[in-house]
């Protein structure tokens, strides 16, 4: 049985449709990430699950029970807010046990559970402080502690790491994932950062303009993007998406050399290939001129303009420009994704009119 299930959920603000007929299910104990650019409806979806906003239509059920019209408190969920929403006038301890006090849990039990969660999130010795006396990371931990002390089993997180610096964000990412697995929590996590989604999620739900673009494991979204949007959103740097044109012998890169990318029509199609799947070759492949090299330590990102498009190539180690700027690019056939430009949909391999891909014609 899924812990949370949304059926045909729609949310309208006046004439604007924020969430358009979304259906999804979340398995118990899994870490699900709602991913998407700002304004895609991910936060609205989360707030509807929490009960802070009400759906215009559709049903939400938690643990098999229809909660669509129940108030937030009756849904047995916890939430971590982007701003943490800590009560500034209460101490760390009072913040954490706020909900227990509301529900009139006896003081000895409160104390016991407080000690336990303080230990889990690593706030020992800080419980008498006010939130303003804590660092960003510590405040984040208080918010987490407040969410897990309720022992609800379901925790909603709304961009909880966006106020932290990069280093801390990485540490907290690992920590939240470990905590979720240790406590067996069901987590729905909203973010616009695909790196967070990739590193933490069991399942990623990619949203765009209020509808679900693609659902899958991180590997699934990375390796098998079904649409141009998914391909362009996942990965840093994202997948190269280059427009094609019809050449005399098959599809060629628009504005590039006559090198045939595959046999078949090219016009109206887009070729997708990840930067790390491209390799440099001396004699065969697409001839390009390298114009920029962005050294990142473990690898270097090279830029190669073709017509008015830019292809990015990830090569290991350091690559210096100037030594050899005119190179050929090749890639294995299985790394290639072909999309229809107009609809943004992937074209299945069987329909491409196959040919040798990436090799010199």
């Amino acid at each position: 049985m899924s812990a949370i299930e949304l059926k045909n959920i729609t949310k309208k603000w006046g004439d604007v449709t924020a969430v358009d007929n979304i259906s999804l299910s979340v398995d118990e104990g899994s870490f699900v990430v709602l991913l998407g650019p700002s304004g895609c409806g991910k936060s609205t979806t989360l707030r509807m699950i929490a009960g802070l906003d009400t759906a215009s239509s559709g049903t939400i059920s938690i643990a098999g029970k229809d909660v669509t019209s129940l108030p937030p408190a009756a849904r047995k969920i916890s939430m971590v807010f982007q701003s943490y929403a800590l009560f500034p006038h209460l101490s760390v301890a009072e913040n954490i046990i706020f909900g227990l006090k509301v529900r009139k849990v006896p003081a000895p039990i409160r104390q016991k559970r407080l000690e336990k969660v303080v230990d889990i999130v690593g706030l020992a010795g800080l419980t008498d402080r006010k939130p303003s006396q804590l660092s960003g990371g510590q405040r984040q931990r208080v918010a987490l502690a407040r969410a897990i002390i309720a022992e609800n089993g379901i925790c909603l997180m709304d961009e909880p790491l966006s106020n932290l610096d990069a280093k801390l964000r990485h540490d907290m990412r690992v920590e939240i994932r470990a905590l979720q697995q240790r406590l067996g929590m069901t987590v729905i996590y909203v973010t616009h950062d695909q790196a967070e989604a990739m590193s933490m999620a069991d399942k990623v739900i990619l949203l765009r303009d209020g509808h679900i673009e693609q659902v899958g494991t991180p590997e699934g979204l990375y390796g098998k993007p079904e649409t141009l949007f998914t391909a362009s959103f996942i990965g840093t740097p994202p997948m190269n998406l280059v427009e094609l044109a019809n050449g005399p012998e098959g599809a060629v890169v628009l504005g590039g050399s006559d090198h045939v990318v595959f046999k078949g029509p090219g016009e109206g199609r887009v070729l997708g290939v990840r930067p790390e799947d491209i390799s440099l070759s001396d004699d065969s492949g697409l001839l390009v001129e390298l114009t920029a090299a962005d050294y990142l330590g473990a690898d270097t990102i090279l830029n190669a303009p073709v017509g008015n498009q830019i292809i990015q190539i990830r090569v290991p180690g350091r690559y210096r420009l100037g030594e050899k700027n005119r190179v050929h690019l090749t890639w294995p056939q299985e790394a290639v994704h072909i999309f229809e430009k107009a609809s943004g949909k992937k074209i299945e391999n069987s329909n491409i009119t196959t040919g040798k891909v990436g090799n010199a014609a």
């Binding site: 929490a50 009960g51 802070l52 108030p71 937030p72 408190a73 969920i77 916890s78 939430m79 807010f81 982007q82 701003s83 929403a85 009560f87 500034p88 006038h89 706020f98 909900g99 509301v102 529900r103 006010k130 303003s132 407040r146 309720a150």
Partner: protein, 294 residues
């Protein structure tokens, strides 16, 4: 060299303070000190120059029945206006902070009494309170209540003045509460709501404590206003009947400018200043400890 620079800085510092110091001294400190000195002398006339009488004016004050009556009036007035206007202001602010139709219009309606000139307000209420033909009596007569002389009856007059003051002040204080409420993150309320807290619980444990700085500010203003009232009394009752609606400052005004007893008025003023100073110190030291400032 650095010593020279330091002394120059000191000069700049004093120069920056100078304008405020000049005005405060000329219009606040000097009048306070001179009032105190005047209160130690008898009131002089053309034939009888004023002489030093020590605490005689204060002695007279203790025996002055009107002073005690006015003081008690003022305490009732303060007790009637301060908590009521603050409570109503807070309630109105919470209400107009919600999403409601014509919110701007409602806010403006609440704030209108504040922007009206004091004299205009008094004239409006004079009409409300007029016996037989006034608004209150006309409404009352519909329900069969007898006509009341609201401002002429010693039992009713102070209450009538209190109601009018609350009407005027609540809207003003509401603006401060409204501003404070809007600076609170709505996520705090949502977080508490998720934990199952009722609206009253959220108000008691979250909203009200976070509004405490505003409450202190508003309380101090309300206290100051409660001893500042002159103009309404001047229009409505002139302190009567039988000093039933006279308040401290109005009595001081009468003594100084109607009875022309400058010395006694000065003694009364000094008492008022001392009372206000004690209240202010008390408010800051007692309430400050319990307030969370962000």
């Amino acid at each position: 060299m650095s010593e020279h620079k330091g002394s120059m800085n000191r000069v700049y510092g004093w120069l920056l303070l100078l304008p405020a110091m000049v005005f405060l001294t000329a219009f606040t400190y000097y009048p306070m000190v001179s009032t105190f000195f005047v209160s130690l002398f008898s009131d002089g006339t053309a034939t009888r120059p004023s002489v030093f009488v020590g605490l005689e004016n204060y002695q007279f004050l203790l025996e002055d029945d009107i002073f005690w009556k006015v003081l008690v009036n003022n305490l009732w007035y303060a007790a009637g206006t301060i908590p009521t206007s603050i409570a109503i202001a807070l309630m109105m602010a919470i209400w107009v902070n919600n999403r409601l139709p014509a919110r701007g219009l409602v806010r403006m309606a609440y704030f209108t009494p504040t922007v009206l000139p004091m004299i205009a307000v008094a004239n409006i209420w004079l009409f409300f309170y007029t016996p037989e033909i006034g608004l209150f009596d006309q409404i009352g007569s519909v329900f069969g209540f007898p006509s009341q002389n609201w401002l002429g009856d010693p039992e009713l007059v102070l209450g009538s003045i209190i109601v009018m003051t609350v009407w005027k002040e609540a809207g003003f204080f509401m603006i401060f509460y409204l501003a404070a409420l809007q600076s609170l993150s709505p996520e705090l309320e949502e977080a508490a709501h998720l934990e199952g807290a009722s609206r009253w619980y959220i108000f008691r444990r979250i909203t009200f404590p976070l509004l405490m700085p505003t409450t202190l500010f508003v309380t101090i203003n309300a206290v100051i206003n409660s001893v500042k009232m002159v103009d309404h009394l001047f229009i409505l009752t002139k302190g009567g009947p039988d000093n039933a609606s006279s308040l401290l400052l109005y009595y001081i005004f009468e003594v100084a400018f109607s009875f022309l007893d400058e010395a006694y008025a000065s003694a009364l003023t000094v008492v008022l200043l001392v009372v206000l100073a004690i209240v202010a110190v008390g408010q800051f030291t007692l309430m400050d400890k319990r307030i969370h400032y962000r």
